[in-house]
């Protein structure tokens, strides 16, 4: 693990590049996009393996059902668009043609969260995790950095079943090194502690780590866990966090209802109730510079520190 938090590639770029690598090895892989390949970065695949790339135009529902058709014919389709358009416009198709028949379709939503910035709320995917997690049989993955994408994508290919992958627009801080081992379905404990667990996903993992650095200095011992696989969630790790630390704080760049907060809280409530607090969004955001928005909507290390102190009974 790295601790300098230097910016690396955006997870969407790592997605496009890794897709090319796995596509070269596995001839069954086909890639679909809905007129956003320059943004989702699936155009990397098109540039290298054009015969297995299909741009369906701006027709997300069509794309999702087409992907199901590919999968029922033995191909491994990866279909991408912005997270909001893919999940919202393709949802019935996912339900009917992918989840119900449990087909081996991989879906990738880019431009998740509010850190897309200036384009504003109509383009921000902040319900995508809730929608994807509601579908029985789906595996839902949100990689925190480029290395996480590089390690998880091949495992997603190996996994036989529907998967939703969430990527982000801006450059992501590097958290993992190639010597780290990430396992699909297994939450990654990034640092250990006893007073509090911070459970985060995606772009929020680095904010959690920065918060933990500061909290450590004022004597709060923090465990930070990257829940890169949100569904099926790693129950064993949640239970051990509940037992071994006094409280759990979840952090996500997503609406609080139906996302990481809901999912972890259910396991905690069912197994070993401890105090919890939740950081995330409760409404649509707006246009602005990405950093400005993360500040304004309370998705920063400083916000995590504030909530963490409340949770462990320190005054702010």
């Amino acid at each position: 693990m790295r601790n300098d938090y230097i910016l690396g590639k955006a997870t969407r770029l790592a997605y496009g590049e890794t897709l090319v690598e796995i596509g070269k090895q596995n001839k069954n892989i086909v890639v679909l996009d809905a007129d956003l390949s320059k943004s989702t970065m699936s155009n990397r695949f098109q540039a290298t393996i054009p015969e297995r790339f299909f741009n369906v135009g701006i027709s997300e529902a069509n794309m999702v059902s087409m992907a199901a058709g590919f999968a029922s014919s033995g191909k491994i389709p990866f279909a991408s668009s912005f997270a909001t358009f893919l999940m919202s416009k393709g949802f019935d198709q996912m339900r009917q043609s992918i989840a119900y028949p449990n087909l081996n379709v991989k879906l990738c939503g880019s431009h998740s969260g509010i850190c897309i910035g200036e384009d504003g709320p109509s383009q921000m995917g902040i319900e995508d995790i809730a929608l994807a997690c509601s579908l029985p049989g789906f595996t839902v993955v949100c990689p925190a950095d480029e290395e996480a994408v590089r390690q998880l994508l091949p495992q997603i290919v190996e996994h036989n079943g529907p998967v939703y992958i969430r990527t982000s627009r801006p450059k992501a801080a590097q958290i993992y090194e190639s010597s780290d081992t990430l396992t699909l379905g297994k939450a990654q404990i990034l640092r250990d502690g006893t007073d509090l667990t911070i459970a985060a996903m995606g772009m929020m993992v680095v904010e959690a780590l920065k918060a933990a650095d500061t909290l450590e200095k004022i004597g709060v011992s923090v465990r930070v866990v990257d829940f890169h696989t949100i569904k099926p969630v790693d129950k064993a790790t949640i239970v051990s966090c509940a037992k071994e630390t006094a409280a759990i704080l979840t952090v996500e760049e997503h609406l609080l209802d139906g996302g990481l907060a809901s999912i972890i809280a259910r396991t905690v409530a069912e197994t070993h109730p401890v105090k919890m607090a939740f950081i995330g969004l409760d409404d649509y955001a707006e246009s602005g510079a990405p950093d400005e928005l993360l500040d304004r909507y309370g998705l920063r290390a400083v916000d995590i520190i504030g909530k963490a102190k409340e949770l462990v009974g320190l005054s702010n």
């Binding site: 741009n55 369906v56 504003g120 246009s287 602005g288």
Partner: protein
């Protein structure tokens, strides 16, 4: 009439100037599809097509304009400023934190808009709802919807087209900004729309085909659409993406990339030349 068209052309130049300026200032946004729609939006707001009153934006009898291809927000904002709905100085806040001028039209932040858009494909359906409501209320205002050619890939466009045609909703008017390009590439490469007129005709629409940059033709097409009874009208406006700025025309790099300060200067100079030719 001659004078009115000349005035409209001058207005169109001012709107192009504002589009370039606000996009250069915000350093992000969509010039291509904003510029291709300038004549359409100018004729609508300033050519006496839309019944509207900037002093009274909630006036119940106003005609409704829906920018279904919401990423072209700059052309709408420039027209609203030119008409006096919003202050011109506001244009420089486009896409900035706290501005009512969001990246895509946002009714929460700018309540005088008819709709929040940005997810493509929904504008005609919204207009159909408004059209039915108007008929139920015995109101005579009309709905005008601007859609893109890439946007026309969406199934919902054709669901709504079929519906409005079936129900003969002649108070619904659609203008298709047929600029030949979408995000990833030309329509012809991604999904060819042609024969486009046949598609709308087959859905029982009244179809008008025009050069979308010929102000006089656009203006009379809109007049015709508004007066036409018995069917909804679609105006297929043949346009050029990035129209009016030489280095942006048919250059799809400018679908979603703002001009630099240097490009802004050059663009404004070209518009100044266009003005000189007119006056």
């Amino acid at each position: 009439m001659k004078n009115q068209i000349k005035e409209l052309k001058l207005t169109a130049i001012r709107i192009r100037e504002e589009i370039l300026k606000m996009l250069a200032e915000s350093k992000s946004g969509h010039p291509g599809g904003s510029l291709s729609a300038v004549e359409i939006v100018t004729a609508l707001y300033f050519g006496g097509i839309l019944k509207h009153d900037p002093q009274n934006p909630d006036m119940p009898e106003r005609d409704r304009f829906i920018l279904s291809k919401g990423h072209a927000a700059p052309v709408l904002y420039a027209a609203l400023a030119e008409a006096g709905y919003i202050d011109k100085t506001l244009l420089s806040t486009l896409r900035k934190f706290g501005s009512p001028l969001q990246g895509h039209p946002d009714k929460r932040k700018l309540p005088l808009l008819e709709a929040s858009t940005g997810s493509l494909g929904q504008g005609i359906s919204l207009a159909i709802g408004m059209a039915h409501a108007a008929l139920l209320n015995h109101e005579s205002h009309q709905m005008f919807v601007l859609i893109g050619d890439g946007e026309s890939n969406e199934g919902q466009i054709w669901e709504s087209a079929m519906y409005a045609g079936h129900h003969k909703l002649d108070n619904v008017n659609v203008i298709l900004d047929f600029n030949g390009y979408q995000l990833d590439d030309a329509n012809r490469v991604i999904l060819d729309l042609d024969p486009i007129a046949d598609k709308w005709q087959a859905n029982n629409w009244h179809v008008i085909d025009v050069n979308g940059h010929d102000m006089e033709a656009v203006h009379s097409a809109l007049q015709l659409a508004k007066a036409f009874k018995g069917k909804p009208t679609v105006i297929i406006a043949r346009t050029i993406k990035g129209a009016g700025i030489s280095f942006m025309e048919n250059n799809n790099k400018f679908h979603g990339v703002a001009p630099t300060q240097e490009e802004l200067k050059q663009g404004l100079a070209e518009l100044q030349e266009a003005r000189a030719v007119l006056v």
